[in-house]
């Protein structure tokens, strides 16, 4: 299994996509740094409310979140399907290696890569905010920073399980469509849930919760926002009017559900791959 993990890591490192994402990350951090710097000057001049600092750092975190999702999907949608389509898998699986070891090895390699990248991005956004004395992060203790980081890593790892399942089940293109569709469903579920609260529409809220169970990715972001900025009245930047309330705040049980969700998709991927004719 470890051989597959190592080869997965090496393969990712040699892909052009990594260069693109590295360049994109640097550009994003530069832009974020400029915005944070400008906001600091503006705040000193008293032009903006103090709250804008929180919005800017939350927005920075949200874009970081999207970039890690994008990377997780791009790196994993074809991880099994392209090797089946190209025939690379034939020579590997005829070796003394069990099929579940192949899937778990791939998953572990991708998880390591995405976890390292997520930690880097999350920490960079935080350090930039600190560098520019953003009031939003100055009061966040190390425990909240760390919990936020764990949640930040959880999300791409959860979507990775989904993508691996898609890659085992579908061809590469269909697998990508499947992952993006589920992720968008997650974004919509957040909007539906919060719109249900605002409009006092219980049906909409219930549909939002049901969609969240199918695609719990937006839930994690809401939890991060709560952990880092609770009390600031912030939520998903794509629906800034909605305020986190105890009604829309994801419970810790939801986090347990997401962990089970990730393990379940990985389990189904292994089960499906064990019976797949190549």
């Amino acid at each position: 299994m470890l051989q597959i993990t190592m080869i997965t890591l090496k393969e990712i490192a040699r892909k052009r996509m990594v260069l693109l994402i590295a360049a994109g990350t640097i550009i994003f951090l530069i832009i974020y740094g400029i915005i944070s710097g400008l906001s600091r000057s503006a705040l000193q001049n008293g032009t903006f409310f103090m709250k804008s600092s929180i919005y800017i750092s939350a927005l920075g975190l949200y874009f970081s979140y999207l970039i890690t999702i994008f990377m997780a999907i791009m790196a994993s949608v074809g991880t099994v399907s392209t090797e089946i389509e190209s025939g690379i898998l034939y020579s590997i699986l005829s070796r003394p290696i069990k099929r579940y070891e192949y899937i778990l090895g791939k998953y572990l390699g991708l998880t390591i890569m995405i976890a390292v990248y997520s930690v880097f991005l999350y920490t960079s956004v935080f350090l930039l905010s600190l560098l520019f004395n953003a009031s939003s992060v100055q009061n966040i203790g190390f425990d909240r920073f760390l919990f936020g980081m764990l949640l930040f890593i959880l999300q791409p790892i959860a979507i990775l399980s989904l993508c691996i399942y898609g890659s085992v089940t579908f061809k590469t293109l269909n697998s990508g469509i499947f992952a993006i569709f589920i992720y968008i469903l997650g974004l919509l579920s957040g909007v539906m849930e919060q719109a249900g609260i605002i409009l006092n529409n219980n049906v909409l809220n219930q549909w939002g919760i049901a969609a969240s169970l199918l695609s719990p990715f937006d839930v994690i972001y809401r939890k991060i926002v709560w952990v880092l900025y609770h009390g600031a009245g912030l939520t998903n930047p794509i629906m800034p009017g909605a305020v986190l309330t105890p009604g829309t705040l994801p419970s810790n049980w939801m986090l347990v559900y997401i962990a089970v969700y990730s393990i379940a998709f990985l389990y189904f991927a292994v089960k499906k791959f064990n019976k797949k004719n190549l």
């Binding site: 051989q3 080869i7 393969e11 040699r14 190209s86 025939g87 690379i88 034939y90 020579s91 590997i92 699986l93 005829s94 070796r95 003394p96 290696i97 069990k98 019976k275 004719n277 190549l278």
Partner: protein, 300 residues
């Protein structure tokens, strides 16, 4: 037996992949699997390598049921669709496969050098596989298959991308491997190649085995005779038809098939008995190609 299959059957939906495939491959034997495109040869090889699962039947490789991981340490496989990680160098690919086979570092180094020499890719070992020609990729695939010093090799079209010189080299390599006691299951379209290296064959058509056995026995099963005779008559041909089949005549030449050696002298006696003047009688072996075409035309 290194391979024993019993009534293996595979359907892809409603489409037949292969049906009731029972073959046995002995130790140190090269066994040829022949058949037209889509006949089911690769299906059989993939089933034996655990890449697809049969709907019915069973098989044992090196005494273990298919899918048993422990036997795979002693098995090498060159797939028909030989594609490898293009971003790797030849040596990196072999190192990766050595690690999958649990070869220790020293043994891996030694084996990698050996197989690179064998397939004549030593000077390209540091080049990326993406820069290799089709033929070179097939060679690195053969190197991969040979890496663990296997007891059983599956070669699925091993020379399809090679030039005539390369084909000859791989043929010689197969015979060399065989001489060391390794068994090979060879799937090839090149009948002349099969004829040169195989001990036994199975011909598959539309998913079914239509002929199998020792190659020499199969080819000598029917003796082809060419007779040059004058004063040929109908009574003579009728008499010959009692011991010969496929009788065709062209001028003074008569072609026929007999099933045993004793029939050859009987043919000569009958010709003389019916007033013919016998000027020549020669025996010709059937070629595998003729047999193959005959079986396909019969649509068995």
């Amino acid at each position: 037996m290194v391979i024993e299959t019993e009534m293996i059957t595979k359907y892809y939906g409603s489409k037949l992949g292969c049906k009731d495939i029972s073959i046995s491959v002995r130790e140190g034997e090269i066994f040829g699997l022949l058949g037209p495109n889509g006949a089911g040869k690769s299906t059989v090889i993939k089933i034996l390598n655990g890449l697809i699962f049969p709907d019915a039947g069973s098989a044992r490789l090196l005494g273990k049921p298919i899918g048993d991981i422990s036997s795979r340490y002693r098995i090498g496989y060159l797939p028909e669709k030989y594609r490898y990680q293009e971003w790797m160098t030849g040596r990196e690919l072999l190192s990766f496969h050595a690690s999958l086979c649990n070869l220790d570092k020293e043994e891996a180094k030694h084996r990698i050098n050996d197989v690179l020499h064998l397939v004549k890719l030593k000077e390209y070992e540091k080049n990326k596989i993406g820069t290799y020609s089709n033929g070179m990729q097939q060679r690195i695939g053969i190197a991969c298959a040979l890496l663990s010093n296997p007891q059983l090799l599956f070669f699925d079209e091993p020379t399809s991308a090679l030039d005539p010189v390369g084909r000859k080299e791989i043929r010689e390599l197969m015979l060399d491997i065989k001489s060391r006691g390794t068994s090979i299951l060879l799937n090839s379209h090149l009948l002349s190649e099969v004829e040169l290296v195989c001990d036994s064959i199975a011909i598959i058509n539309k998913g079914l085995i239509v002929k199998q056995g020792n190659l020499e026995n199969i080819l000598n099963n029917q003796l082809n005779l060419e007779v040059i005779v004058e004063n040929r008559n109908d009574a003579m041909l009728t008499a010959l038809s009692r011991i010969a089949t496929n009788i065709e005549s062209n001028g003074n030449n008569i072609y026929m098939k007999v099933s045993k050696r004793e029939d050859i002298s009987e043919v000569a006696s009958l010709i003389l008995q019916y007033g013919g003047h016998l000027y020549g009688l020669s025996q010709k072996h059937d070629s595998l190609e003729n047999l193959f075409i005959q079986l396909m035309e019969e649509g068995v």
